[in-house]
Amino acid sequence: MIPIRDDNPQVSVPWTTYGLIGCNAFAWMVLQSGGFGESFEPSICKFGLVPAQIMGNAAETTCDGFTGFGLLSVLSSMFMHGGWMHILGNMLFLWIFGGNVEDAMGPLRFLVFYIVCGTGAAVAQIWSDPNSLIPMVGASGAIGGVMGGYLMIYPRVKVHILVPIFIIFWTFRVPAWAMLGYWIALQVIEGVVSLGSTGGGVAFWAHVGGFLVGATLIFVLKDDELLFDHPFHGWSDNVDPASVWEDPNNRQK
């Protein structure tokens, strides 16, 4: 299930979303050599987040010779990726959902929102396996937060998704609550299944943690006044704020 676009109009230029995509692309191409070459694996060790190291449970990581960035790796890991599909998938989700969440709070607040969601994702991943020596990289936790925020404010918006059935890709329009609800349910299930496993793979709990932080933090940072511009925000049809004066009790007697 791949989202292609949504029916939510973009009201303001999403400078922070553009900037974050640019930073991720820059990190991927420059710091990680686009996934090729000798510097790729060390970049994951150097900038990735190692739960055991953060918790002080390990002096060394699986990456020989690298001690990582310590607490700063919470931030640096958000801009690192493990492969082309990883970064492209993340940036597609950020492109589709980030702009509208940014619309709801403005670029500066959105930057704060994104970083806090990413941090929440890191905390959740560390909680799920504090002794893990495997470096975690990726923007998915922060983007999970963006999706959580999106679900809270634009649940009715139709999202166009691409679904492969046999060998043919079909497109469907589904409400955001269905698409994002399915996505988070999948993360929770996969997260539960992955508990106790020692191997690498997708950081499901980071997705869940980021999502929950985003779904909560959106209520602190969203600006209801900016949301007036979005015809589909909220669970019910939006009414003209001036219609309050149609009530005879609100008119001069």
Partner: protein, 265 residues
């Protein structure tokens, strides 16, 4: 006309209303005669009328200081002068003219502005808003208006873009020529990081309390119709909708009038 004519013009107004005469003197001395004209009979100024265009609008104007010397009333001088004023306004590109009128009745029950009101109606002016108890208890303000340029046939109503400036109230003040009617002055500020754009219901309560402390009995506020954030706090604070001056700022952007009574009526 020149500044030396101010006192002769004021005399015309003073023959009806001394308060208006003082206000008119200040207006003419500060702002000049501008788009005001007088009628003369044998060198004597017998009538004054005119209008002032509202700068921030695309063509709205307020008719002001329309008086005929008391002993020349009923001779059609006012009507001829007012017709001239309307022609001049059209010539100058004014789109719509407004007039504020009181419905004051004297102790004998006579509406002293009835003659003027009838004249405005005869020129096609229609009452758009009645603000009850505006000037004083029992004395309403009626705002008449007339579109000088007819709307084009089949003109489509265009929904105007909503604006969300950060509005903050600066002060409360008693409205000129009223007894105990107040309004809030407001300004648009630069919005900071966590600030709300709209004024809040609490901001309105602060203003209402300040008016109460000054002995005010009623508060009137006006806003543009393309500000979606004003409605919720105004309604929550107990303001009532009075009416709107249609297309006041530009086609599709009206001036909304609200009232809040402090006397519990």
């Amino acid at each position: 006309m020149s500044k030396s004519d101010v006192e002769d013009v004021v005399d015309v107004i003073e023959s009806h209303d001394e308060d208006d005469a003082d206000d008119a003197r200040n207006d003419f001395l500060n702002n000049g005669f501008g788009t005001h004209w007088v009628a003369e009979i044998e060198g004597e100024i017998t009538a004054i009328s005119g209008y002032r265009q509202v700068p921030e609008t695309y063509g709205s104007g307020w008719v002001s200081w329309t008086y005929v010397l008391e002993n020349h009333c009923g001779k059609g001088i006012g009507k001829r002068l007012f017709k001239f004023v309307l022609e001049e306004a059209i010539e100058a590109g004014a789109q719509k003219l407004f007039i504020k009128v009181s419905n004051y009745t004297d102790e004998f029950g006579n509406n002293i502005y009835q003659t003027a009101t009838s004249m405005y109606e005869s020129f096609g002016f229609e009452c758009e808003i009645v603000s009850k108890d505006f000037y004083d208890v029992g004395e309403d303000q009626l705002i008449y208006s007339k579109n000088l340029l007819p709307k084009l046939d089949g003109e489509i109503e265009v929904e105007k873009e909503k604006e969300k400036p950060a509005i903050r109230f600066a002060d409360v003040y008693e409205i000129a020529e009223t007894d105990g009617a107040y309004s809030f002055s407001w300004e648009v500020i630069d919005k900071s990081f966590f600030q709300k754009r709209s004024f809040s219901v609490d901001d309105l309560y602060v203003g209402l309390q300040a008016v109460k402390e000054r002995g005010g009995r009623i508060v009137f506020l006006t806003f543009l119709s393309n500000l979606p954030l004003i409605h919720s706090p105004l309604a929550s604070a107990g303001f009532k909708f009075v009416g709107q001056l249609e297309d006041y700022y530009e086609p599709g952007v009206h001036e909304l009038h609200f009232v809040h009574r402090l006397d519990g009526k």
